[in-house]
Subunit: 242 residues, 2 copies
């Protein structure tokens, strides 16, 4: 049986972002990423700083940990990273969660295809804008999205772009134009990862959110979009595991 590198299992809490924002969910955070975004808010999953916390767990072990923490209080699990799309055999976990009656959400930047994408209930593909210092491989992304569309997964898939500045917003427009059939979300980035005062952070994020709303409202290229806050950071600041 395959083992997966797991950094955190927590919840129940709410999904703070994207297509099922507000949904009661448990989180499983996997270690490892093929990117190194300049503003990554979970750099501990790939920069070595938390490597002693990584547990190698099988699907039944992960489900056991979820049950211990979540009891009867969940029917939805979010797999995040890092980039969980690096894990070829993750279908073992996803299938087991489905068998147990759980819906499964997963977020990835869209740098790598996995056949099990077709089984995810809420798949968020989050290509990274210029401020991340990463560059998008459009061929790979085109192929991922074509496969999802061909398989009729459109309603189970969404695109999300995190926006820090005007250049990022231009990138978001490009993504939305390229894949007009997918639900499209934009979200303000949190560049205050060192802010330890939760109230200051919340007020700052609301200001940024208002800025982004204003920009989107004045763009006719971005009519069919949803603009969301980062709910977790608004509520719980820069803490982990909430």
């Amino acid at each position: 049986m395959n083992k997966f590198p797991v950094l955190e299992i927590f919840g129940p809490t709410i999904q703070g972002e994207g297509m099922v924002v507000g949904r009661k969910t448990m989180f499983v955070r996997t270690a490892g990423c093929d990117y190194s975004c300049s503003w990554c808010d979970s750099a501990f999953t790939w920069d070595g700083s938390a490597k002693d916390e990584i547990q190698k767990l099988t699907a039944p072990e992960i489900i056991n940990a979820l049950d211990q923490r979540g009891g009867d209080y969940f029917d939805h699990v979010t797999i995040s990273g890092g980039n969980p799309a690096l894990l070829k055999n993750l279908n073992e976990l996803i299938d087991s969660l489905h068998e147990k009656g759980c819906e499964v959400a997963l977020e990835t930047q869209g740098s790598k295809w996995q056949a099990w994408f077709l089984t995810i209930d809420d798949l968020t593909i989050s290509p990274k804008p210029p401020s991340s210092k990463m560059s998008t491989n459009w061929d790979v992304l085109d192929r991922i999205i074509a496969k999802l569309e061909e398989a009729g997964r459109t309603t189970h898939t969404s695109l999300k772009v995190v926006i820090f500045n005007d250049e990022d917003l231009e990138y978001a427009k490009q993504v939305h134009k390229r894949y007009p059939n997918l639900a499209f979300y934009v979200q303000v980035g949190n560049e205050a990862l060192d802010e330890s005062d939760d109230q200051n952070l919340a007020l700052h994020l609301l200001d940024q959110y208002e800025w982004l709303i204003d920009r989107v409202m004045h763009s006719s290229d971005l009519n069919h979009v949803r603009v969301l806050p980062q709910v977790h950071a608004l509520l719980w600041g820069n803490r982990r595991g909430v």
Copy 2:
């Protein structure tokens, strides 16, 4: 041609609540309500205080006002109130919006059926909990929801309950249990309608939101729900027209 009592037309802004939270939209607010909720945040639509601002407009006149304000910057319109379900001929507006390529969202408390419910893209039914001092007519609500389900409108419909206290939360559980097939949203109520300091209000609403999340997380009757903040009040306080 029928005329509709309109109190506000504004936008583009984002939808601040419910099933399409964050969606770029225009708002049309109609006057008149058959309820008088104790904490109504749009009491000016029915308490007479804004009666001089009510305009009687035909569907083309409303669309003209939307175009003047929103230009090319929208493809979604939210009709709110008051209770827009009091307006029997509102299909004239809804159909014209669809013809022009707009999606239409509408919110009502579920006290009255209209055949045009079946044409709304995002219909939010928001029955009012005990703290409102209103009482739900379950027969009427049962019939409304049965008709929507029979017509296959489940994915276009959601239920939303605003929660001020534990009694309201019990009511929410009852609603969710009675209509398990509909997407279910809970939202914290804003009882600080007199707060004029936007930052104080935002921090207070985040506290309340955290309280509600905590309650929902610890209830196995509320697993399949989404808990949302009141985005408009977080951003813009108690102001009208944003």
